[in-house]
């Protein structure tokens, strides 16, 4: 780990910051060619670790004039592992789907002033430095051979409509090097806030920016800070909710893995504005890499004097600690999170008295999501006016979404609020793969709902999504096509919620349990039409009578799917059919005797021994195989095994 701030220098003045910025710029844009590998979880899970190893060995062995670096996730997770090459005077190139076997090819070709065309993702000739509002131009003088025809980063459909504020540094800096964070404007916002602004001014600025919480509830951040500031207590806490529990959402994880300092800087500014001197970052236990990166970043900030006593000579002191979650979705709820930090189980408590008045250990506490904190430094440096020009009337700024599921370009996208779902799914997401038809997009995780095709032109905005029966939530966006069963989706979410409910409230514990039970009945062909009314009643009481928002929003997936896909439910109940061919108990697997080649593969893999027939041999023609419907468990193994498409599923 290189870096000036390794244990020696404390940052006391703006001059100190500028000096480190210079070092950081040298590190980001060295004179030697630099090859960076995306090493966030998405990259590592596709083999980026091996890619890096191969490059390291290759460069060392041949003593090549190459610097190797690591970065976080650049968002286009579908294309990982991503490797980029930067040489002064040339455009930066990004490669996709790089295998360990081909990594050295990229380097060797580059040294020959050529690109590997079939692995190219895009090229870049300038970088947006959003913290400072400037552009870093690469001053391109030479073009490597083969690069014509490669789109610019800004032309790639996945990236062209994005505006990266929260993801500003992800994929562009080495998260382990604080100098690089500072080089791109990091901690200058903190300097401006601590030494140039009063706490009330900061709160005013955040209020005017219109920033709303990015964790799901969407409270106006400025107002929350104000109410916490107003609480009279000499001990206050600022908390970061990094317990990203929505399945399918990993925005916060990418920020923590790729740009941990952005969250720390935001929290210090917030703490100063509120009057808190202690903070906690509550990170989900299932994010070991994020925990590691945060630990490194906190240590670096402490060594540099950006955390601790008398930060930047301002007289303000602030310490932050990491807290590892224990694996409980309910701990993402603010009072449950605080109970967890106190050493208790994550059971929420009543909020007649707001946590901004009495929260962690009964002290005034301000809890915000990772993305919310991360936006703060940019609001400080660019101003509330600039920020409030982005987005819609009720939803300012940008939002990071994880676009996953049945979509071509899966990954993390950051877009201005107000963009339509259609643009996200089709323009950015590249539409539905395999020529299938779009069916719905699920937003807001288990607290949200499914938005059907008829509403696909809905602008993404806190209030508009809530009106449609869903919610913004933390940003998970699961795209579904005709092969997704909405009854199954509702059942899936109910199964999750009944498992994750803390179990305290009768209405939530029993409500989610019974909703799941009924959905199971429907998916197994034992549904009755009265069940739909019963689901609505159960949904009502679960939401109205429960203490926290886990119960409060639990019915959303069920109620929204009934609202928009009632016919599909009725098909399951009345005709005992699953149109999407998902609900196993309602499927019929049949072998088409005129297509079957009697190879016998299906019978071999069938776990229920339900397939019989005469296998063909070199000498004899076989007889078509048959599935015994009484024994068949509808697992689909035969369907997967058959190479002749002889198995029909209905």
């Amino acid at each position: 780990m290189r870096g000036v701030t390794e244990g020696k220098m404390k940052i006391r003045t703006k001059d100190d910051l500028e000096k480190i910025k210079e070092k950081g710029l040298e590190s980001l844009y060295p004179k030697t060619t630099k090859v960076s590998v995306g090493m966030a979880t998405c990259g590592l899970s596709t083999g980026a670790g091996k890619v890096y190893e191969v490059l390291q060995n290759g460069v060392e062995k041949a003593k090549l004039p190459i610097l190797l670096g690591q970065t976080g996730c650049i968002g286009f997770c579908q294309k990982e592992p991503v490797v980029d090459i930067l040489e002064p005077g040339k455009p930066r190139v990004f490669y996709q789907g790089v295998t360990p076997g081909r990594s050295m090819e990229l380097v060797q070709k580059w040294l020959d002033n050529k690109v590997v065309e079939d692995l190219l993702l895009c090229k870049m000739e300038r970088e947006d430095w959003i913290v400072e509002g400037t552009t870093k131009d690469y001053t391109v003088r030479h073009l490597p051979g083969g690069i014509d025809g490669t789109p610019h980063y800004h032309q790639v459909p996945f990236y062209s409509k994005q505006l990266k504020i929260a993801l500003r540094n992800c994929g562009f800096i080495n998260p382990d090097l604080m100098d690089e964070y500072i080089a791109r404007g990091g901690y200058f916002g903190l300097y401006q806030a601590l030494l140039g602004m009063k706490p009330e001014e900061i709160i005013e600025m955040v209020k005017r920016s219109g920033l709303r919480g990015r964790g799901g509830a969407g409270f106006y951040t400025g107002s929350k800070w104000e109410s916490c500031r107003r609480s009279k207590d000499d001990r206050k806490f600022v908390l970061c909710n990094a317990d990203e529990g929505d399945p399918g959402a990993y925005m916060d994880r990418s920020v923590l893995e790729g740009d941990p300092h952005s969250v720390i800087e935001g929290m210090i500014i917030g703490a100063y504005a509120i009057g808190a001197h202690e903070g906690f970052i509550y990170v989900r236990n299932e994010y070991p890499l994020a925990i590691q990166k945060l630990r490194i970043a906190i240590h670096q900030a402490e060594e540099a004097g950006l955390l601790g006593e008398n930060i930047l000579g301002s007289g303000f002191s602030f310490h932050v600690d990491l807290f590892r979650g224990g694996g409980a979705f309910v701990c993402g709820e603010s009072t449950a999170l605080m109970a967890s930090i106190e050493g208790k189980v994550g059971e929420p408590r009543a909020k007649h008295i707001h946590t901004t008045e009495s929260g962690l250990w009964d002290k005034p506490s301000n809890l915000n999501n990772v993305e919310t904190w991360n936006n703060v430094p940019v609001i400080i440096t660019r101003g509330a006016d600039w920020y409030s020009k982005i987005g819609t009337e009720g939803s300012k700024g940008t939002k990071v979404f994880s676009v996953v599921g049945k979509v071509n370009n899966t990954g993390l996208v950051e877009v201005p609020m107000g963009i339509t779902l259609r643009e996200i799914v089709y323009d950015i997401g590249g539409g539905i793969p395999d020529g299938k038809k779009f069916k719905a997009v699920q937003t807001g995780g288990p607290s949200g709902g499914c938005i059907p095709e008829s509403l696909i032109d809905l602008p993404v905005d806190f209030d508009r999504l809530t009106e449609a029966g869903s919610m913004m939530g933390s940003g998970g966006m699961i795209v579904m096509d005709e092969s997704t069963c909405m009854v199954d989706v509702a059942k899936y979410f109910m199964s999750f919620l009944k498992d994750e409910s803390c179990g305290k409230c009768t209405s939530c514990r029993e409500g989610t349990k019974r909703m799941h039970e009924i959905l199971n009945e429907i998916s197994e062909g034992r549904g009755k039409l009265e069940h739909l009314d019963l689901l609505e009643e159960l949904g009502w009481v679960t939401a109205e009578a429960s203490l926290c928002q886990l119960g409060g929003t639990a019915p959303n997936p069920v109620l929204s799917t009934i609202r928009y896909f009632r016919k599909e439910y009725e098909e399951h109940i009345v005709n005992k059919r699953c149109p999407a061919k998902v609900c196993q108990a309602l499927l019929h697997h049949r072998i088409l005797s005129n297509v079957c080649t009697s190879c016998g593969r299906c019978a071999k893999v069938c776990p229920a021994e339900a397939i019989t027939g005469k296998q063909r041999t070199k000498k004899e023609k076989g007889k078509p195989f048959k599935i015994d419907p009484k024994k068949c468990i509808h697992c689909g193994m035969c369907f997967e095994a058959c190479k002749f498409k002889a198995i029909e599923v209905e």
């Binding site: 979880t41 998405c42 590592l44 899970s45 596709t46 997770c77 579908q78 990982e80 529990g245 929505d246 399945p247 399918g248 959402a249 990993y250 994880r253 236990n285 299932e286 994010y287 807290f323 590892r324 979650g325 224990g326 694996g327 409980a328 979705f329 967890s340 930090i341 106190e342 050493g343 208790k344 189980v345 994550g346 994880s402 996953v404 599921g405 049945k406 899966t410 990954g411 699920q442 995780g445 998970g476 699961i478 579904m480 997704t484 989706v489 899936y492 979410f493 999750f496 803390c502 893999v605 776990p607 697992c635 689909g636 193994m637 997967e640 095994a641």
Partner: protein, 150 residues
């Protein structure tokens, strides 16, 4: 686990009661689960009732009071993986290993668990075995996958 090892872990957190979750997690990462005797020790050393520790140990997914197998299989049941057929993978594993989710095979070779979102959604359906991610799974790939682990 030695008495002294437990002491060391507790000392690391200065014996703070609110650090109990971290303490249990550290013990778990060494022992792979939380044996009854150790929990009783922790209760005594930190003066926290056993009932409270047992409550924590059974509330949080990260903690297990049951011994684990040599290899841990975490099948991702996140929404994206589910929509791509994640439950078929879990069913196949349940059949092939002969155990329900949350249990360990008799020969102590595998423990089967489910996890909600590993964050590799573009690779779904995904299973994590001993910390390594296996993506783009189909039912027929499972037997070969299991063979890799003794």
């Amino acid at each position: 686990m030695e008495n002294s090892e437990v002491d060391t872990i507790i000392k690391q957190y200065k014996g703070k009661e609110s650090a109990i979750l971290a303490i249990l997690q550290d013990i778990q990462s060494k022992k792979k689960y939380l044996p009854k005797e150790i929990l009783e020790q922790v209760s005594q050393k930190m003066q926290i009732p056993v009932t409270h520790i047992f409550r924590l140990a059974t509330f949080y997914n990260a903690l297990s009071i049951k011994p684990r197998g040599r290899h841990k299989i975490d099948v991702c049941l996140g929404t994206a993986c589910h929509v791509r057929g994640g439950n078929k993978i879990i069913d196949k594993l349940k059949r092939d290993l002969g155990i329900p989710v949350g249990e360990t095979t008799k020969d102590k070779r595998f423990t089967l668990e489910s996890v909600r979102c590993v964050g590799c959604c573009s690779l779904g359906p995904v299973a994590v075995v001993d910390g390594d991610v296996y993506g783009r799974l189909t039912q027929d790939k499972i037997p070969a996958l299991l063979k890799e682990f003794k």
